[in-house]
């Protein structure tokens, strides 16, 4: 059972922003409801007004940016659309691989990318895969739009940089170099993942070694994060060695701000992060070698 509330269906981002300002803490943004409604069933939030962002024009759009260098994903695009879109599968295959592993088919049919990022549940897949792409979020507010790197938008568990009178309208995902290969792997014993790892490898000209590596780990700590020291250590590593199993991956978890929770102890999560970083690197390296 849900407590009573009113639904508002703005047609534009400006209307939604005005409703946010009007309702303050009594209002909540609502898209697929796959997180919000479950929290409200538990009596959390006390929201009297839900602002349904799915009626805002353009928020379900998914397209190549005009400059051809990024894909712009509307905040109300569902995980299922990301999983199946030809554009995403061809140009951002790592994102499609992540999206098809989100929760289950029912959640993917209604849950949205924007809702996922704004709810900021730490045990979640999309932020991890978006971080290795250097994604940026676009926020609309009363004073206009602002853009933020996703890493700055993710503040903590259930906390984002979204202002009280702002809405997330789009996520811009820069296209990786065409020669790049990636992988998203996850592990968990419950509905939500215990650890999620995204890897993007840009090979050198001979396609033998790593020119640039990007690695992110999610679910282990308060927010998903890149591993800069590991990324530096990977530069110059041979793809064949990564495919065979890179011993240094086992220690990848040591750099993580791991927290103990129902998904495991901090030590366990750090150990699992090492295992799954190794597997993600091996898979991405194999894909990079297959592209040659």
């Amino acid at each position: 059972m849900l407590p009573p509330f009113e639904i508002h269906q703005p047609a534009t981002a400006a209307e939604a922003v005005a409703l946010r300002a009007q309702f303050g803490e009594a209002g909540a943004l609502y898209a697929g409801g796959s997180e919000l409604l479950l929290a409200m069933k538990e009596g959390l939030g006390g929201f009297e007004h839900l602002i349904d962002v799915k009626t805002i024009a353009g928020l379900a759009d998914l397209a190549l940016a005009p400059d051809g260098r990024a894909v712009t994903i509307g905040a109300a695009v569902t995980h299922r659309t990301l999983e199946r879109s030809a554009l995403i599968r061809q140009r951002l295959p790592l994102l499609a691989e992540m999206a098809r592993q989100v929760a289950n088919a029912r959640v993917r049919a209604v849950g949205t990318l924007g809702g996922n990022l704004c709810f900021a549940e730490p045990h979640s897949d999309p932020p991890t895969a978006l971080l290795v792409h250097g994604a940026r979020v676009v926020l609309a507010g009363a004073a206009g739009a602002r853009r933020l790197p996703l890493a700055d938008f993710l503040v903590g568990p259930y906390e984002s940089a979204l202002g009280p009178d702002e809405i997330l309208t789009h996520v811009d995902v820069p296209l990786p170099p065409p020669c790049a290969a990636g992988a998203y792997v996850k592990f968990g014993m419950h509905e939500r993942p215990t650890v999620g790892v995204a890897v993007l490898l840009v090979p050198d000209e001979r396609r033998a070694a790593v020119a640039e590596a990007r690695v992110a780990v999610g679910c282990v700590g308060p927010v998903a994060a890149r591993l800069p020291a590991l990324e530096s250590a990977l530069a110059g590593a041979r793809l064949g060695d990564l495919e065979a199993g890179w011993p240094q991956a086992a220690r990848a978890g040591e750099a993580l701000d791991a927290v103990s929770d129902l998904h495991g102890s901090a030590d366990y999560k750090r150990a699992m992060a090492g295992v799954f970083v190794g597997r993600a690197l091996a898979l991405a390296a194999r894909r990079a070698l297959e592209l040659t």
Partner: protein, 163 residues
């Protein structure tokens, strides 16, 4: 009628309906309490178990966690709408043929989830079937015969049984 009520014009199992619902009404409650369609079950209530699976414009959703008003102008299909006249749907026939149920509580959701998959991907591989059904839990653990039912349904549909 309360000022908070929302008009809900929708199609449920092929029948056009004009209802009015409160904004917080969940689709599952409207189906079960207002329309008497009790095939879809409430169990986990948090989108994990799949016992409440219905199709909204052909896509599987958790009726326990979808607001009823989201069905405006859309088609809802529940387990009650699957058989035509006295003839069961091939997926239902397949579950009977393999005894793809024990207590039966998860069965309506399982069958709707399988229908959604096979409508979309008739030749889904066993691995894809398992991945798709990851979100439907059978607490009797009757998974082997459920997976066998999917294979039987795939063959029947490929042989031209009307889905």
């Amino acid at each position: 009628m309360s000022a908070r009520r929302i008009a809900l014009d929708t199609t449920v199992n092929g029948r056009a309906l004009s209802l009015s619902v409160e904004p917080e009404a969940l689709l599952l409650d409207v189906l079960r309490e207002r329309l008497g369609l009790t095939g879809s079950k409430r169990s986990c209530d948090v989108q994990v178990c799949g016992a409440c699976t219905v199709l909204l414009d052909g896509l599987p959703v958790s009726a326990c966690s979808v607001l009823a008003y989201e069905a405006r102008g859309r088609r809802v299909l529940t387990i009650e709408g699957l058989a035509s006249d006295e003839r069961l749907h091939p997926v239902q026939e397949a579950f009977l043929a393999t005894a793809g149920f024990q207590c039966g509580f998860c069965t309506p959701g399982m069958i709707m989830a399988v229908k959604a998959l096979l409508d979309d991907s008739p030749s889904a591989t066993p691995e894809e079937v398992r991945e798709h059904l990851r979100g439907n839990i059978c607490r009797c653990t009757g998974y082997a015969s459920i997976l066998a039912a999917v294979a039987v349904a795939q063959r029947a549909l490929a042989d031209g049984a009307a889905g």
